[in-house]
């Protein structure tokens, strides 16, 4: 059984004359973890603040569990929305210890129950030992987990996370994001995360909305965002890749410098039109036997793989992800071949 927990219909918000969110529609099913992904300034945090009720909307409606909480006529104050929030700077109370921070939102519970819930959460976030410490005595990761526990404690219907990992070391981010996902899933909570870091989004979210200029460009799974981007912005923003000019032959064939690509074309283009074709690093495979040669411009060691930047004979550059035992020097020529099962091509940009 799936049930829509959160629904945003045509929401609009602006600061002064500048629109921050324009006509945004979004829905999230109960138990899912959604993510708004986008560069800074795209309006994603504002969406979160509108959902939380820290800001009202200029147009549109926000429904929570089928009840309208924000519209031009209705405004349910944040404290009545049963929404938890983890702030970017954690905003822990510096004058309270860890346990008191976590128990802060449990003011409606009896003392005994409150203590039980705090203990439970301390256990969940592995901070039982630190319960009497003050925030300034904790590491960044610990502070982050306290903030999460504090937001989860009152069992919110919906948990909002505003760039929760941006203050942490990169090495910590990945580990913590997996941990956070587990915690959220274990608590059977629905959550929305806002971030500009796609690795984070991919690690945590079930569904990701890519935002740009106050609009959601594409709401989809991580796989589809990467492999089936709906527009050029998404294709560019998600993952790595290059665009090469090509000429559409028919619905299943496009010709580029490296040869003719064959496969399903995601976007319809008239035969004969000139397009830009997206080539991901994994679309290009190293093959010593191939007649197709390219010069290595630079390389980046990634452990299992090496990411090579290659220059084609015509001067265009492509990326290739190659198992790392194929170690070649910069300047060397290596053989490559294409391995594409669907074609992502967009109308060429007017220059």
């Amino acid at each position: 059984m799936t049930k829509i927990l959160l629904q945003l219909n045509n929401v609009r918000q602006a600061y002064g004359k500048q629109a921050v969110i324009s006509d945004l529609t979004l829905s999230l099913q109960k138990g899912q973890i959604g993510c708004l992904l986008g560069p800074s300034g795209c309006g994603k945090t504002t969406v979160l603040r509108c959902i939380a009720g820290f800001e009202s909307v200029l147009a549109g409606e926000i429904y929570l569990n089928g009840v309208c909480v924000s519209s031009t006529k209705v405004f349910v104050p944040p404290e009545q929305r049963r929404i938890g929030m983890v702030f970017q700077d954690y905003a822990l109370f510096p004058h309270l210890d860890v346990a008191a921070n976590i128990g802060f939102g449990l003011h409606r519970l009896a003392k005994r129950e409150r203590e039980r819930r705090v203990d439970e959460l301390l256990h969940v976030v592995h901070l039982t030992e630190a319960s009497r410490k003050y925030p300034h005595e904790l590491s960044g990761g610990q502070q982050q987990r306290v903030a999460l526990a504090r937001a989860l404690a009152p069992k919110p219907e919906l948990l909002l996370l505003d760039e929760p990992f941006s203050n942490l070391d990169i090495s910590l981010r990945e580990r913590l994001s997996i941990e956070v996902r587990e915690i959220i899933k274990n608590q059977c909570t629905t959550a929305i995360l806002v971030t500009h870091d796609q690795a984070e989004a991919f690690a945590i979210a079930d569904e990701i909305g890519v935002m740009h200029r106050g609009e959601i460009q594409q709401l989809d799974t991580a796989f589809n965002l990467y492999h089936r981007p709906v527009n050029r912005f998404v294709a560019d923003f998600i993952g790595q890749g290059v665009f090469l000019p090509g000429k559409v032959i028919d619905a299943r064939q496009v010709e580029i410098e490296l040869g003719v690509l064959q496969g399903e074309t995601l976007h319809k283009h008239a035969s004969g039109s000139i397009v830009d074709v997206l080539l991901r690093p994994d679309d290009i495979v190293h093959d010593n036997t191939s007649a197709l040669q390219a010069t290595i411009v630079s390389k980046a060691f990634r452990g299992a793989e090496i990411l090579y930047t290659l220059r084609l004979a015509g001067g265009d550059r492509v990326l290739a992800l190659v198992p790392s035992h194929h170690n070649h020097a910069v300047g060397e020529k290596i053989g490559i071949k294409l391995e594409v099962d669907h074609i992502v091509a967009f109308q060429q940009l007017e220059l």
Binding site: E79, G84, A91, F93, P94, H95, Y134, A151
Partner: protein, 533 residues
């Protein structure tokens, strides 16, 4: 760099020497006056003082915190103007507000006179403005900016965010304010309230206008009327002990908690007030400003115009003004520098000896001005005598006085008195520099003076500006120390105000008073521009 280490101790010593001079009186008998006090007025004096301080604390807290909250978080008509205009009452000496308030609202004032004429009644129901409530209200109006300024600092940096956290945890805005925002702003508010209570305890001018007897009145009575500086010093010692107890209690209270924020968030949107709320807040702010600033200034302005013909000596006034500005400016500079060094030392060496030294350095503010003035004067003059004797003996030079009669002695005395005023804002600002900020800077290869200049000063700047403004305005208003220690001819606006009011010539004192207020607006204006209040 290591010099910092000792600044708190030197500063504490500077304060403790006069305090010691005052305390040394305890050794000398003044038993007769004590017996007299205990038998007659002591109990009522203590009660009077207690209720006054309590009333002013409650009043300034209510006004200061609410005004700070409204201007820091909400948007309402005139908010930009009000947020700095609310500091204006700082420029008015409290006794001036007191005199104007009495002049307007007392039996002979225009309000009661008009009402009596209209209603043809003796107005026996009209509250006695010269009572306790009157003093409390006037002092509240005069001193609330201390709380306002510091609380606003706290609210601006963390108020909105903590409110949101509270709301996301199911608290209403109101609950969030009381459960989160207020507790988090505690060190700032406590600092403001400490200043207010010290100022209230030390006040003589305002209570004199109201003829309200306090502990300080008793001190002056013992000294000036019964010619017993001993008894006065003993009473003052008792006052110091009381203040020190309060300081220690406050210190204990915030010992383990830290108030450094993790990160100051980007400028949050203000909450737009709607409908009648809007106008209620505006109305509230306007009425505070009206009674605390515009009414006294209008009255003074009226008197100035009336008495202008008698005070036309413009050259003389420019001289007073120049002296006032120079003294205030130099003191603000000196005091802020010393306090910054002191606060740094405490940060680097947060041991309890240093902590108590810093605390001790701030008690000068609680002493009645004249008592402190003589406490400062006696040892300095003694030192001067020793020096000139040494010079005469060893170098065969007749030096006369070296310190006495120079600005140095004034600046030292101001330093001793006003360190507290700049300590609270600078200390609060320093709490914002977390150790990770230092570490971050060091990791970028920035350390020593470069770190102070490029990292610390920008963070401390609002605090330093607050401190400098407070000191500047306070020195400008200060009388007893200025009177006692000024070099010949170094009369200031405050001196002129003292002279005229001591002879009951309030109307003529209006011109220097207005000038003093206008001059006090300069730092407030600069302050406002610097901190984009």
């Amino acid at each position: 760099m290591i010099i910092w280490r000792w600044v708190p101790f030197v500063a504490a010593a500077l304060v403790l020497v006069p305090v010691g001079v005052i305390f040394s009186s305890v050794l000398m008998p003044a038993g007769e006056i004590w017996r007299h006090l205990v038998e007659t007025t002591l109990i009522s004096l203590l009660l009077n003082t207690f209720w006054l301080v309590l009333g002013v604390i409650v009043g300034t807290a209510l006004l200061g915190i609410s005004l700070a909250w409204f201007t820091a978080v909400y948007e309402f008509p005139g908010r930009r103007f009000f947020s700095w205009a609310l500091l204006l009452p700082m420029a008015i000496p409290a006794y001036v507000t007191a005199f104007v308030a009495l002049g307007l609202f007392d039996f002979t004032g225009p309000i009661q006179t008009t009402l009596r004429a209209w209603l043809d009644s003796d107005l026996s129901w009209f509250p006695d403005i010269r009572g306790r409530m009157g003093v409390i209200i006037v002092m509240t109006l005069a001193f609330y900016p201390y709380v306002y300024l510091l609380a606003r600092n706290a609210f601006l940096s963390q108020g909105k965010r903590s409110l949101e956290v509270a709301q996301s945890l199911g608290f209403s805005r109101k609950q969030g304010f009381f459960k989160v925002v207020l507790p988090m702003a505690r060190p700032w508010i406590a600092g403001g309230i400490m200043l207010v209570s010290m100022e209230t305890l030390a006040d003589f001018g305002t209570v004199a206008v109201f003829n309200y007897n306090t502990f300080t009145t008793a001190i002056y009575k013992a000294w000036f009327s019964m010619f017993s500086l001993q008894a006065a010093s003993q009473l003052a010692s008792l006052l110091i002990v009381m203040v020190f107890i309060v300081i220690v209690l406050e210190q204990q209270f915030r010992s383990r908690m830290r108030y450094a924020e993790t990160k100051s968030s980007a400028k949050a949107q203000r909450i737009q007030l709607a409908g009648w709320h809007n106008w209620m807040v505006t109305g509230f702010v306007v009425s505070v400003l009206f009674f605390a600033f515009f009414l006294p200034v209008a009255q003074l302005g009226y008197w100035s115009v009336q008495s202008f013909a008698q005070n036309y000596d413009v050259g003389r006034y420019l001289e007073f003004l120049w002296h006032s500005l120079t003294l205030s400016g130099l003191s603000a500079l000196l005091i802020c520098l010393v306090v910054i060094a002191m606060v740094y030392a405490l940060r680097r060496y947060p041991d309890s000896a240093t902590r108590y030294a810093v605390r001790a350095a701030t008690i000068g503010y609680a002493l009645p001005g004249t008592v402190l003035a003589i406490g400062v004067y006696v040892p300095l003059v003694w030192l001067d005598g020793q020096l000139s004797e040494l010079a005469l003996h060893w170098l065969q030079i007749e030096t006369g006085q070296l310190i006495q009669g120079t600005l140095a002695i004034m600046l030292i005395a101001y330093l001793i008195r006003f360190m507290a005023v700049s300590h609270y804002p600078i200390d609060s600002a320093m709490q914002r520099i977390t150790h990770s900020i230092d570490e971050a800077a060091m990791s970028l290869g920035i350390h020593g003076w470069a770190m102070i200049r490029t990292v610390h000063i920008p963070i401390l700047k609002p605090g330093i500006f607050t401190a400098a403004t407070l000191v500047f305005v306070d020195v400008m208003k200060e009388m007893p120390i200025t009177l006692m220690t000024r070099p010949f001819g170094w009369d200031t606006l405050a001196v002129r105000i003292y002279e005229l009011t001591s002879e009951g010539q309030w109307e003529q004192a209006a011109l220097p008073a207005v000038t003093l207020i206008l001059a006090g607006l300069i730092p407030i204006y600069l302050f406002m521009r610097q901190t984009e209040i």
